[in-house]
Amino acid sequence: MRKWFQQKPWTFAGLGLFCIVMALWPWRNEVFALSPGCVFYRLTHLHCPGCGGTRCMRALSDGRVLTALRMNPLIFSALAWLGVFWLRGVLREWAVIARKPLVFPTSGGWWIAAVVLLFSVLRNLPWWPFCLLAPL
């Protein structure tokens, strides 16, 4: 098992996550109801970068993709990226593709932090193109 995990970590991790999600699937509404209301939002009326994340997940679990995108575009696109990288990893493990692996840039962390912080500022602006980013 350990050896198999070392050889095909992406496949193994994906299968594990799939099993967990499937095990919780019948109780998904109860699981979502566990998440507490946001104290930060109640006090400040500001949207933090994760605001709408639970609604995004819930919409995805119901198959309403557009609502999910509307609730939190950042989490939605992060999940999409994760899916792409996972699929790439699985295909490489099974030698379906043998393309040059990607190198994560050393400045990547700063880029991620900048995108998240910029997103959280933009979605709190009250004007037209930016208010689309707010989960309302």
């Binding site: 050889q7 507490p36 946001c38 930060f40 994760g50 040059k100 994560f104 840039p105 991620i112 309302l136």
Partner: protein, 233 residues
Amino acid sequence: MQWYYSKNGAQNGPISFEELKTKIESKEVGPRDLVWKDGMADWVPAGEVADLRPAFGVPVAAQPAPAASAPAAEAVAPAAAQAPVPGYQTQERPLQPGYAQAPATYGAPVAPPAQGMAIASMVCGIVSLVICCAWYFSGPIAIVAIVMGHISLSRIKSQPAQYAGKGKAKAGVITGYIGLLLALIVAVCAIFAMTLTPEKLEQMEFLPKEMREQIRKDMEKKRSSRELIPDQP
């Protein structure tokens, strides 16, 4: 054979083996910079590739013998290859015999350097950054990201053959620290707000009253228009 090399996260290439050797000899590519060629499972530090070891060994061999002729340098090179760089005492690697002994068999089932902890650190860091408003979740997750990021950074430094993912570990540390900072700010605000009475809290709101009324009205309007879509609040 086409080689690629990576410096500071940027990918360069393809170049020939001879060109890569020239770059190593001119110190443009160091032993810790990553290289890759077709058939390799993942990028590996250049100092770990057996074919490239002599290129790193040459400058070391030239130092003790100023008048070293070419055959002499050849003779010293294998000895220098034993420790091309101080701190590279990973000659006997039971996990990855393929890298050290037979670079021709790169397509063989050789385990690529592990980067699971670096990826986990990055994921935890991003999650802590995104859910910073829920400080009681994001604070602990940020600490996990920072700890795992530092552990994997030190492992990558001491055992470059077994561990990789420096950029990801760094990203985990960076986003973890920013997430922890945001969580602390939110926590201080939230705890401070808990000590206030509702009337005082009303006075503390930083927007003027008319503006808040306007925003509330807009939100109600948007909310009522959204009610048409079967959605949860």
